[in-house]
Symmetry: C2
Subunit: 475 residues, 2 copies
């Protein structure tokens, strides 16, 4: 029986200290905790936390952490529970703490283009507030309606806009964080330039709740970009795709909003599943789907046509089609968006790998070769965000013979992550490490890096109170 289910007198003292300080609204225990708090979208086996804390202010977060610290009860911060690495699942004997009651957009300055939000606001709420003020928030991802800004920051979320605007880190001007002992670290100074000692906010972004609880953030907004131009291009290889990307970025600095690569294995499945007509007379090894965005649609279309024309003359592009309308653009994007149907069409073993850009082509081929050698009939689909060096690979577990899903996953992960380590790549481009990728962290980080991470964790959270056992173990 896990510790969290044993109602000891110490536990009763702890819960009443919390209730006395935070109020009954902010503390739920036992059956009053909804079961969705027991796990997250990663599918980890559920576990009931000792309590679910729902503070409604930074002062309450601070008080909650102070009490947990005094009682030596670990704290697992939870956002929208949309993480895929198990970073927010309860650990034995821990409380979970969520900021769903701290979801205000506190202020938005459309001229300085800064929004101040509480960490429990959903990504979509921030996007909508930005749009209503004539601005754009630079991060977007599929879970936008559920995921929260605090979780986006804690995982340094990426998603669709990275090639243009960067990840959550690049949007962040100021942060407020509560440390393990309840101290409030106020770093809410929305300045681009501020070289006054260590830039502490960067230590919390991407630390998956292990160093502090993010309570508020000041985020940068972009000017709205109402115009868009879309093209699909066939390229002979990844090197040519990279050169094409460089030419687009040179012609439209800041204007390349998407640069998605689809290998032919992906394209053939996408065509079959969507029933779309073939985009070109013949098959090609790689397709690039690219969007330019900005202020002036005809200028964007002209730039796209000019760059693609030159690239065809240079042999970088074999064939290309420019969307003549938003409807045509949506049609081209349907191919890429078939990934949403992977769970119903495959038993997908999904990878979220990052590599030095120039290495992606060889790496993708080596992956397929290694998988083919072990599993001759494997079905693997490759696509990625080339601008970010992010390769997604999905292997259908059902194409691997008689293995159970877990066995298949383990075998494929061992092959792919081994190649990632050889190539100096990352086992997690944007999903984080959480619980599930811990065994493979060593493929992307050296023992000295891991020792340094542990030293920092020990300095900021000496009792290992915050999200213990996530990302790495302290032992």
């Amino acid at each position: 029986m896990p510790l969290s289910q044993i109602p000891t007198p110490a536990c009763a003292d702890f819960l009443s200290a919390l209730t006395d300080t935070l109020g009954a609204d902010a503390v739920r225990s036992g059956d009053a905790i909804p079961s969705d708090r027991h796990t997250d979208w990663s599918g980890t086996a559920p576990l009931a936390p000792l309590a679910w804390l729902r503070p409604d202010s930074t002062a309450q977060v601070s008080a909650a952490l102070r009490i947990c610290h005094a009682h030596r009860v670990p704290v697992v911060p939870q956002g929208g529970l949309t993480g895929l690495a198990g970073g927010a699942v309860p650990t034995p004997g821990a409380v979970v703490l969520s900021l769903d009651r701290m979801n205000a957009i506190e202020s938005l300055d459309p001229v300085a283009r800064v929004v101040t939000v509480q960490a429990g606001a959903t990504l979509q709420a921030v996007q909508e507030a930005a749009l209503a003020a004539g601005c754009l928030f630079g991060v977007d991802l599929g879970a936008r309606g559920s995921c929260q800004i605090g979780g986006n920051l804690a995982t340094n979320a990426g998603g669709n806009g990275v090639v243009q605007f960067g990840m959550m880190r690049e949007q962040t001007l100021g942060l407020e964080v509560v440390l393990a002992d309840g101290s409030v670290l106020d770093m809410l100074r929305p300045m681009v330039k501020n070289n006054t000692g260590y830039d502490l906010k960067h230590w919390f972004i991407g630390s998956e709740g292990t160093l502090g609880v993010i309570t508020r953030a000041q985020l940068r907004l972009q000017p709205a970009q109402p115009a868009r131009a879309t093209a699909l291009a066939a390229v002979p290889d990844v090197v040519s795709a990279l050169a094409l990307l460089g030419q687009l970025q040179a012609r439209c600095p800041g204007g390349v909003a998407a640069f998605e690569l689809m290998w032919d294995d992906f394209v053939q499945h996408a065509l079959a599943w969507t029933g779309q007509p073939r985009p070109f007379d013949q098959d090609h090894p790689l397709l690039v789907l690219t969007d330019l965005s900005g202020a002036d649609e005809s200028a964007l279309a002209q730039a796209l046509e000019a760059v693609l024309g030159n690239a065809m003359e240079d042999g970088l592009v074999l064939d290309a089609v420019l969307a003549q309308s938003q409807t045509q653009a949506a049609g081209l994007w349907r191919l890429r968006e078939i990934t949403a149907e992977f769970p119903s069409r495959l038993a997908p073993i999904n990878f979220d790998i990052s590599l030095p850009q120039a290495a992606i082509g060889d790496f993708a081929d080596r992956c397929v070769a290694a998988l083919s050698s072990r599993f001759p009939g494997h079905r693997s689909l490759r696509f990625g965000h080339l601008g970010d060096g992010n390769l997604h690979l999905s292997t259908d577990a059902r194409s691997l013979g008689d293995l159970s899903f877990a066995e298949a996953e383990h075998a494929v992960e061992a092959i792919v992550y081994g190649l990632v380590a050889e190539a100096g790549g990352s086992v997690s481009a944007e999903h984080g490490i959480g619980l599930h990728k811990k065994p493979y962290l060593g493929a992307s980080r050296s023992p000295t890096e891991l020792a340094t991470m542990r030293a920092i964790k020990h300095a900021l959270d000496p009792l290992n109170q915050l999200n213990p056992g996530k990302v790495f173990d302290m032992a």
Copy 2:
């Protein structure tokens, strides 16, 4: 007599351990240390270091730090010595360590747009290597010929290109750092997306040599931007200038290369000193000097004209002139570049302040009002990089009555930094803290932030070996 000048037997042992391990070329002591190693451009009183170490490889840096660690001798990393805050000046009993022999551009990939450099390379060498490959390095500053990449990273240097490309942090994909005990932290993985545990490189950027010695870096390059369009515009106030900036950035995402604000106090002196004709029929409270850069000169000029035209209709711009040639553009820039003559024309007390963008106008006025109240005849010139929220203020010490320069500086700093603290600003936008701004660090950082910085410093450098006494004191 400083410790560094006492040749004790322990010191002799230490020096021979260094010489035996690194070779005589890499270790200089006593009179063999050139006097320029005794101080830096900040004008700090010179102090002879115990030795000057000049390792020629990461392995030698590691060996040097291991020996210093074993002998408990502190190490002051030195770059090009161009810092203005005294971050690289020797401290009593310390050796200085410079990477001037590690100045290779190791590789450059113009397609993936990544350059790998040793930290002793000058900024200019990196810029030139980028240009030769048809690319652009995003950081530029006046000391480019002397300052080194290691120092640029250690201070998170800003300079001229921040509004377009960000600071050194934003250029950095990978780092190699040697820790206080000689461990080598290899973070040379040039990937945009890599969420595998803490992103350690960010902890060293801007830490002014107090957490580790940066030995190599992988830096992002930009596409070359051969075309440029320049305009000078008169605006009624800072809020209008910000709105104009927003409109330019909306029209040309990624294309605004400079957006410099000059208050009339600055403009009048610049006109008198340069002998340039007045740019407009009448005086205006503020002038904006802006550059767009990109691929196509006529497209940039059209965009600039269109945005300025609309802004004039909206009353955001009172008058404007577009440069019709590179010569005219250079003429407009002469006004702004008069700052190079400040040292010969004034006894300048210079400030490098950062503020939330929207607060700059009020803050600049409050500064002048506060200075006028204490020093009715003061001469203060205001200019800044509005896109970065960076305000420069230079007060002529000779306009403050009978005070010595040091007295005048102290009095003016107390007034200005007091206002910075009130406004939630930064006492150092881009110059760092080093030795000279330590007394004012508390104006921009809370006690909790300072305690957190000390905890991190203690975790990574428990003996306080690396650049001790810089940025903050450990006591």
